[in-house]
């Protein structure tokens, strides 16, 4: 069992959990993820590592309530435990060859770019950061990102905070006026695809983190496969980060939505909405 040491609500339906998991924390690095099961009957679901503390033996994840498992997690509080927690999985982000990086986080994608910002900052290469959300209350990790970024550009769809519009509007503006070696974009698939289209004409290196459906997360089932530059890659062991300009996003979107009906049905069942 893995104990929840802290739980903090960051926004409606978004919680941050600090989990006691020394084995996962020991070698964790930015860009990697974990897989957890809430209970003995649970499914295996991947979550990106939002932070880690190797000495304390903890891994921090952000969870947005979108379905059955995340709903079950939302019912758990500090002091409760979950059945399984394995990691770190996937490859760490490799930003070592870049001097100036633009990090772009959409929604809880901000969780993924948080450890990257922290690391870059510690290397004396504080990145510019664009954080996007629908509305002000959904802009996550603002304090942390302010601390680690060179400059922070919040964006809201409704203009309730920062710039009004999508992250892509800000990215388009920034890459015209500033010089970056790379862009790392994390968020929903449509957002990552859109960022790639913005950077494609200039050929600016753009890295995205693929949030495919996964089962084992160790390369033994191929459920998370993505087509990258015409080649089949497994997001869990070859990624999750890939060159965004080479990703077949249309295929990725189809694959991500494949189990949506079954998932919705199960979510309704566990909430007692369907008998």
């Amino acid at each position: 069992m893995f104990k929840i040491l802290d739980k903090r609500q960051l926004a409606e339906n978004v919680n941050e959990y600090v989990i006691e998991a020394p084995l996962a924390a020991k070698n964790a690095a930015p860009g990697q993820f974990v897989i957890l099961r809430v209970d003995a009957d649970g499914e295996r679901v991947p979550f990106t590592i939002a932070d880690y503390d190797r000495e304390r033996g903890t891994v921090t994840i952000l969870v947005q309530t979108v379905g059955a498992t995340t709903y079950q997690l939302a019912q758990k509080n500090a002091g409760d435990s979950i059945a399984d927690f394995v990691g770190p999985l996937g490859n760490p982000t490799d930003l070592s060859r870049f001097e100036k990086v633009l990090l772009v986080g959409g929604g809880i994608g901000g969780a993924v770019i948080h450890p990257q910002a922290k690391l870059l900052n510690s290397l004396g290469k504080a990145p510019d950061v664009v954080l996007g959300a629908r509305t002000k209350e959904l802009l996550l990790y603002m304090d942390e990102m302010r601390r680690y970024s060179s400059e922070l550009f919040p964006m809201t769809d409704d203009g309730s905070y920062g710039g009004k519009g999508f992250v892509t509007d800000k990215v388009a503006e920034l890459i015209k006026t500033r010089k970056y070696d790379a862009v790392l974009a994390v968020g929903p698939l449509p957002m990552m695809a859109a960022v790639c289209e913005v950077t494609r004409p200039s050929g600016l290196k753009t890295i995205v983190s693929m949030n495919s459906v996964m089962v084992d997360g160790t390369g033994m089932c191929g459920c998370c496969r993505v087509t990258v530059g015409g080649e089949r890659k497994y997001a869990c062991v070859d990624g999750p980060e890939f060159d965004g300009h080479l990703i077949d996003f249309a295929e990725a979107r189809l694959r991500q939505g494949f189990y949506r009906d079954q998932e919705k049905e199960h979510y309704c069942r566990i909430r007692g909405e369907v008998k």
Partner: protein, 453 residues
């Protein structure tokens, strides 16, 4: 003249094709004794030579004949710690039973069914008396058949043994791969629980190469055994393989066997195709096809590019699949998967057999112009697997051969001192019993290298 071979009862095909209950119901005590009395108790038993782990077959069969079922189990577990599992999944027809002198003329003694009977008599057996500790520790990576047999032999020799497993459940392919209707999971759980009773420690949720590296393990353990299997699935690299509705047999079987997706209330979803095509003809293909039928398919087809003679699956499994209404489309191979948003049909091509390849199997050759299309809403690729590169990538000094197979000497020693490997990780995909024998061989080498012989 010997009596004819006794056959255990099988569940009726019409009923079993829609449920996950075990197909082979096993011998009852009376039939087991009857079958055991067919054994001629050869002075020089060939059957024993056919067993990869050298179980003393005539001795355990004699005990069954005399009604000493517990003694029969103890006799088997001296060489094989998982009789209930091996009795079910070993290809006895090419191993022990193929050497039985009764053989062709009267039908070999049903060694596998008897082993299963003895194993099941007390599943998991009684906890063995703890061995005197030798003060050496071993980390076993992977809890599949290779790791389990290595761990069992070393705990019996007094080593401190810790198994590290990446999944949340132990058993490897016994848990995620082989379906309930061939190998009930309660059997796997009980056999592993008996190892824990003997003192084997198990750490689940530990991916070696990620959570811990081999270098880190070497600080805490005297020896390391790698039994990480060959879990990386192959695909065909044909157009349309990325479409939703196409999956590997590993994914499909893991969802059903490990995650219990056959239960409609399970948290893990699985596709329940109505018109399912399985590509491949090994045991995994049979398991996937029969599982798809049990999930409610109207029609399941197995597509194979060679003929029936070359099918690598056990004959019994092919027969069971056919009895359950699964269609075999032989000398046929997919060239494209077609669909708008998800799989709708598969373009196939007819093949003919050419000259034998380096492994002696006749090579399939596409017949030009013979392409045709068939409808399918789910395609399962059962094309074989290769070792997972996660572990070897994290340990560059570990020498590997073709397809990432870990290079070992004949006793299972790798290129890294103190590190041993066996099973599918060191041979490529093979059988449960060969993995078990490799685990035993490495255990023997570890005992020798620890200076304890």
């Amino acid at each position: 003249m010997p009596e004819p071979r006794n056959i255990p009862p099988f569940r009726d095909a019409e009923i079993r094709r829609r449920n996950f209950e075990e197909v082979n119901m096993g011998f009852d005590a009376e039939t087991a004794k009857k079958e055991a009395s067919r054994c001629l108790q050869c002075k020089n038993p060939m059957c024993r030579q056919g067993c990869p782990v050298g179980v003393n077959i005539p001795a355990f069969i004699l005990k069954i004949k005399n009604g000493d079922f517990e003694g029969a189990r103890d006799t088997i577990t001296a060489d094989n710690n998982l009789p209930s599992i091996c009795g079910r999944v070993c290809p006895q027809e090419t191993q022990c039973e193929s050497r039985c002198v009764l053989g062709k003329k009267f039908g070999a003694v049903a060694i596998g069914a008897l082993e299963r009977f003895a194993g099941d008599y007390i599943v998991g057996g009684k906890p063995a008396v703890p061995a005197e500790k030798v003060g050496k520790s071993v980390a076993v990576i992977g809890s599949g058949p290779a790791g389990l047999s290595c761990a069992a032999d070393l705990i019996k020799r007094g080593f401190d043994v810790t198994i590290f497993e990446a999944f949340h459940t132990t058993g490897g392919v016994l848990s995620y791969g082989i379906p309930e209707f061939r190998l009930p999971k309660r059997i796997v759980k009980a056999e592993i629980a008996s190892l824990e009773k003997m003192g084997v420690k198990i750490v689940t949720n530990a991916v070696i190469g990620k959570s811990l590296t081999i270098a880190e393990l070497k600080e805490d353990f005297d020896f390391i055994f790698l039994g990480t299997g060959a879990g990386l699935p192959g695909f065909m690299n044909i157009p349309g393989e990325g479409l939703p509705g196409v999956c590997s047999a590993n994914e499909f079987l893991t969802r059903v066997n490990l995650m219990k997706a056959m239960n409609p209330d399970a948290a893990t979803p699985v596709q329940r195709g109505k018109n399912v095509m399985v590509v491949g003809a090994g045991n995994v293909a049979m398991d996937a096809a029969r599982t798809a039928m049990r999930l409610g398919a109207d029609h399941v087809t197995i597509v194979y590019r060679r003929s029936r003679t070359e099918m690598p699956a056990r004959k019994e499994e092919i027969e069971h699949a056919e009895e359950e209404g699964i269609e075999l489309k032989l000398l046929t191979s997919p060239v494209e998967i077609i669909g708008n948003g998800k799989v709708e049909k598969v373009r196939l091509i007819r093949t003919e057999l050419g000259e034998p390849d380096e492994r002696g199997r006749r090579r399939p050759i596409d017949i030009p112009g013979s392409e045709f299309e068939v409808a399918a809403d789910e395609v399962i690729m059962a094309l074989g697997t290769s070792p997972n590169p996660v572990l070897t990538k994290s340990c560059p000094e570990l020498k590997t051969g073709p397809r990432g197979i870990i290079a070992v000497d004949e006793d299972g020693r790798t290129s890294v001192p103190g590190v041993y490997a066996g099973g599918d990780a060191a041979t490529g995909a093979a059988t449960v019993i060969l993995a078990m024998s490799a685990g035993k061989r490495a255990a023997k080498a570890i005992v020798a290298d620890a200076g304890l012989n």
